[in-house]
């Protein structure tokens, strides 16, 4: 039923680049974090940024979202340059962000947290579909947001951006600190979203998890993209990957 609904939606032609990042540089105050990031994401793909702690993966997502004060280079989304845009405008173009720390609001209950992000365009998931994906949330609508377990908070953080109609999701380490069974549930969710035509840019430390959902990988190191390959080339790149990630 979900698939039927999605077919009517205007989605960029499969394979067209929706996000193109060129020579992206970013600074936190005086410290220069990103030194020229280059990569792209095509419509309907799940792309994962891999790299060690502090390599610049989260900063890359935040720069795309426009929440890093100083950035330069080029970020094109849906053929619009957004490097100078404010984060509220970027969100209105259809990019939704699920931050690493999840960002559940303690002064809001679960329902308010879920309903917080405004609908930016038509075609968001209706609530009943969200509750099919995350049945736990339905039981806890009146709980304080931060009283949920870590896994439930992560689900809430993903669920609330599915409502908005944004078709490009950025998930920052959605599996961090969660139990294997919950990680599995989040993996299923990502796969299902992909099958519904969402485009997903993922940041992960958990490489094993990433390999179950990603179409392509980029390796980030010292604020640069140093390598990239498709999931089909994964086994050929295993040795390199171990060196990059130091695992």
């Amino acid at each position: 039923m979900a698939e039927a609904k999605l077919a009517e939606r205007p989605v960029a032609a499969a394979g067209a680049e929706v996000l193109t990042v060129n020579d992206l540089q970013a600074w936190y105050g005086e410290s220069h974090i990103l030194h020229g990031i280059n990569f792209n994401v095509k419509a309907g793909e799940v792309v994962t940024l891999l790299g060690r702690n502090g390599a610049g993966k989260t900063t890359t997502l935040k720069s795309i979202m426009g929440v890093i004060g100083k950035r330069s280079g080029s970020i094109r989304f849906d053929n619009k340059e957004i490097i100078r845009a404010t984060s509220d405008r970027i969100a209105r173009l259809g990019i939704a962000f699920c931050p690493e720390e999840r960002g559940i609001f303690s002064s809001l209950d679960v329902r308010e947290n879920l309903m917080l992000p405004p609908v930016v365009r038509p075609g968001g998931l209706p609530l009943d579909q969200i509750f099919t994906l995350f049945p736990n949330l339905k039981e806890r609508l009146t709980s304080q947001g931060t009283k949920l377990s870590g896994g439930e908070q992560q689900m809430l953080a993903i669920a609330r951006i599915l409502r908005t109609g944004a078709r490009f999701l950025m998930l920052d380490e959605p599996t961090e600190g969660l139990a294997p069974v919950i990680i599995q549930q989040i993996g299923h969710t990502i796969a299902r979203l992909k099958s519904q035509g969402f485009t997903i840019l993922l940041v992960e430390q958990n490489f094993r998890f990433a390999s179950t959902v990603a179409d392509r990988y980029y390796i980030v190191e010292h604020g640069k993209v140093i390598d990239g390959f498709a999931n089909s080339e994964l086994s050929a790149n295993m040795d390199k990957l171990h060196t990059y990630l130091g695992v």
């Binding site: 404010t86 509220d88 960002g103 609001f105 002064s107 992000p117 405004p118 908005t164």
Partner: protein, 287 residues
Amino acid sequence: MQALYAQLLVGLINGSFYALLSLGLAVIFGMLNIINFAHGALYMMGAFVAYFLLNLGGINYWWALIIAPVVVGIFGMILERTMLQWLAGLDHLYGLLLTFGIALIVQGVFQNYFGSSGLPYSIPDQLKGGVNLGFMFLPVYRGWVVVFSLVVCLATWFLIEKTQLGAYLRAATENPTLVRAFGINVPRMITLTYGLGVGLAALAGVLSAPINQVRPLMGADLIIVVFAVVVIGGMGSIMGSIITGFALGVIEGLTKYFYPEASNTVVFVLMVVVLLVKPTGLTGRAA
């Protein structure tokens, strides 16, 4: 007993002003992280706008209740856009000093033109007179101020705690960056919040005009007590500032009856005690 009830009524009236003002301060502090020392001056401006409307434009009290908060709210939003917004992220001290300076300038300008004595503002015809409740005589206007303030306070509480707009506000108080990244124009929301907070102050000013007259320093006298109320109640909570406002007004009234000598200091004594026992205030959360 008559005197006790009369003092209780005075306490409730003062409590109404404390509640309206500390509510605005709490809302502004939550969103802008600014301790708005200009609040008393803006309260005074509300009373003056009502005075001008009546004496220059022949516009009555009822319209003033709507127009004065809007006019002063717009003035406040201009202050926020041109000055306060640049203090975002800095220490509280800067906002406090800037708004204190604004208060001195605004009060100085009004004093220059209107002196320090009060200008009369009469009670609207519909609210003149009083009713005998059996145990006491209740002036209608005073009853109106208490009831109307309570309604406005509860409406503000409802707006912030129970509506979608309020959810944006509470969320932006916690994490403005993320709320903005969801597509909400947070800077504009901050401006409107400041407008709402000072609008409440101006509304209190209009309500107070027929009781306390219209004076350039009416806010300066009141704001010190209101800050004590805010410290006692804690900055964090909307309902907390409403309840604390009314409660301290009543406590002040009771003190006037039982031990008049302490009536001007009882609020500050309570403030000291609360600060010693629970520094975040009765309903406040740790910063």
